[in-house]
């Protein structure tokens, strides 16, 4: 086969941030296949140094618009731990609710706006809104619901103002929570339509398997988002304090973001990694959605990450209803957050939509930040994306150039990479 196929995509579309695909196949041989990260670095760790304890979450929230709730809450947790602040059960439950809102928002955006067009053979959701109006409206409704939920609990859909060190600066009212509960129940019904649509087109997802390690938080009592220890499908549990031993960041020449490895040459984080580690703790509805796609642990097809996201949306909706019931049943009170700053250092972790996120801070006696480090999910996935490139391209090298291109784009999108996040938070 005497031909050269070159695939060069600069600034891949329908992903957060900027990344390039670079593949050359010559005479039937893969000569080059790389995933490049080219986003401009932003230097957040340096930006928070010298700032006060009540400002760090406000700043690190701006690492990423899509995961701003997750960054805010991880930052607050780390600051609270560093200063020995213990938050109430109500605060924890309300934060879990807020995290569910973000997870739904991010997943539905990814599945509905960014992946669905690939499955239905359209260039974008805008094109789909003409041909598949009803289905697009379902996606829009779930997205809208999650945004209303973030507004109500966080104060704003992006960069929430209400969560503060020690708790919340403002609370939703019980009536608002009850109304939200009703809408969540409607959302569960809407989800069925989405599940049907995706299922009818799921055969478009490439059948590619590559064994790898999956890392996620894990908690004895619940499907972990807000709290837990670090767990791996290769076995083992580590406290969050040991995060640098797990993430082992390293630099590669083709990227302005760092890559990670643990047991093997790369690992994966995100919805599929959570599901692979914590499947048994999914809500009943989520399990039935997983069943509809025959998705079970341990699934090592990265394209199934988008399906795992749909499963998690079901879990988020259902668990949110339970959390609201609990908050109201326990007797809701408008607590005030009270904090006395103190010197200390601590790391905290949360599962954000794209995977496990770590923040660590050190403060002096005046509550001024002297050190910060953040390890971002997408950074932890870059290495795995590269390994998938090396595994998948040789398998499909004889396909037409356009087919290879589309498949590799779909692969990167399946990870839902947040490249704008990944270059902002790196530390050696």
């Amino acid at each position: 086969m005497n031909e050269t196929k070159t695939i060069k995509i600069d600034h891949l579309t329908r992903v957060e941030g900027h990344g390039n695909i670079d593949i050359t196949i010559k005479d039937g041989q893969v000569q080059n296949c790389q995933w490049h990260v080219v986003e401009a670095p932003r230097f957040f760790e340096a930006m928070v140094r010298g700032r006060k304890w009540y400002e760090t979450a406000h700043i690190t929230s701006r690492i990423c618009g899509i995961c701003s709730i997750g960054h805010t809450l991880t930052s607050l947790k780390a600051t609270e731990k560093a200063m020995g602040v213990v938050v109430s059960e109500q605060t924890r439950n309300m934060r879990k609710l807020l995290l569910h809102a973000e997870n739904i928002q991010s997943h539905i955006l990814h599945v509905g706006y960014l992946v669905l067009p690939d499955l239905l053979g359209a260039p974008s959701v805008i094109a789909l809104s003409g041909s598949h109006r009803n289905e697009v409206m379902v996606v829009v409704r779930i997205h809208q619901l999650s945004n209303e939920m973030s507004d109500l609990i966080g104060g704003r859909t992006t960069h929430p103002q209400r969560p503060v060190v020690g708790g919340f600066a403002k609370w939703p009212t019980p009536v608002e929570l009850k109304n939200l509960r009703k809408k969540l129940a409607d959302g569960l019904a809407d989800l069925d339509a989405l599940v049907e649509l995706v299922r009818a087109n799921a055969d478009r997802l490439p059948d590619f398997h590559r064994e790898t390690e999956f890392i996620a938080l894990s908690h004895p009592d619940e499907y972990a988002f807000y709290d837990g220890d670090i767990a791996s499908t290769d076995g083992g549990k580590w406290p969050v304090e040991d995060y640098t031993r797990v993430s082992n960041e390293y630099m590669v020449p083709q990227s302005t973001a760092k890559f990670s490895k643990h047991n093997r040459d790369a690992y994966m984080v995100g919805a599929l990694a959570r599901l692979n580690n914590n499947y048994e703790q999914l809500s009943p509805k989520a399990k039935s959605v997983a069943g509809a796609f025959n998705l079970k642990p341990i699934t090592c097809n990265p394209f199934m990450n988008s399906i795992a996201q749909i499963v998690e949306i079901a879990h988020n909706l259902e668990d949110s209803i339970g959390l609201i019931d609990k908050i109201l049943f326990d007797g809701f009170i408008e607590e005030q957050a009270r904090v006395t700053p103190k010197a200390g250092k601590a790391a905290a972790s949360i599962e954000v939509p794209r995977g496990i996120l770590f923040h660590e801070y050190e403060y002096d006696e005046a509550g001024v930040c002297t050190f910060a480090n953040c390890v971002i999910p997408t950074n932890q996935n870059h290495g795995n994306i590269q390994k998938d490139f090396e595994g998948l391209v040789p398998q499909i090298k004889d396909w037409a150039r356009e087919e290879i291109e589309l498949t590799m784009e779909m692969l990167v999108r399946a990870y839902d990479p947040c490249i704008s996040c990944s270059t902002h938070c790196i530390f050696i």
Binding site: E16, P41, F43, H159
Partner: protein, 247 residues
């Protein structure tokens, strides 16, 4: 019949939170789509065209290589709008300008720091002329719709040039200073509905300064509550590091 205006979105260094507000318009956005053609929006679509009339640009300029891309956008469009505080005033990215760049690079990337190109973060207008600004971190969805509608009607969009305090008092909030929090509302441009005070906090200054900020009234308020300028300056630098007052 006139053809629909062609609208494009671009991003430089930012968190993409402002573009997300556009996506968050949901059903409203679908309605607007009847009146415009979106020809480029990398975050949401694969299609792309260099032929557009209105360009919304998010993010600050943080490396020399960004400049040529921005200049090309300026050449292609008749109207260029800075979307969000990163683009309009430099925003949070300018915090790094107060550190030596080498120090910043080393803190974040260690010894390989030199391989990364970066320079002082700046707003779009430091590189090309900007026609309109929609400030905010993130932008307000209502203001975005207002600006777009004005342009579609051939009118000049006007955003408020009075301080957040005005909106805040109208809304009947308890003043943040009364709650012991320093607030930048007296000098910050309104238009957000005093969003942070409403949610239990104080203004961080994210929308930038009003055109002729009354720094005396800010000083008076500080004096009244026995605060000194240090805290306010620290706060001011969060978003307004690029403006002269901070330097």
């Amino acid at each position: 019949m006139m053809s629909k205006p062609r609208v494009a979105f671009f991003d430089f260094t930012g968190c993409e939170g402002c573009q997300l507000q556009v996506v968050n318009l949901e059903a409203d956005l679908l309605g607007i789509l009847d009146h415009i053609d979106i020809v480029s929006f990398r975050e949401a679509m694969k299609e792309h065209s260099d032929n557009y009339d209105i360009a919304f640009v998010e993010g600050s300029i943080t490396r020399r290589s960004d400049e040529s891309r921005l200049k090309a956008i300026r050449k292609n469009t008749s109207t260029l709008i800075a979307l969000g505080s990163c683009a309009a005033i430099g925003g949070i990215n300018c915090l790094k300008n107060f550190f030596e760049l080498d120090y910043v690079r080393e803190t974040v990337y260690g010894e390989k720091a030199t391989s990364y190109e970066t320079y002082a973060a700046r707003p779009l207008k430091a590189v090309v002329p900007v026609d309109y600004e929609i400030p905010g971190c993130p932008i307000s969805r209502n203001e975005f719709i207002y600006v777009l509608k004005s342009l579609l009607l051939g009118k000049k969009p006007e955003i408020p040039n009075y301080p957040v305090c005005v909106e805040c008092k109208l809304a009947g909030n308890v003043c943040a200073f009364e709650r012991g929090m320093p607030c930048l509302g007296p000098i910050t441009r309104a238009g957000c509905g005093a969003a942070c005070i409403r949610e239990g906090g104080a203004c961080w200054g994210c929308r930038g300064l009003v055109d002729e900020p009354n720094t005396d009234s800010q000083r008076e308020i500080l004096a009244k509550y026995g605060l000194d300028l240090t805290d306010i300056f620290r706060k001011f630098r969060l978003y307004n590091g690029y403006s002269e007052v901070a330097k």
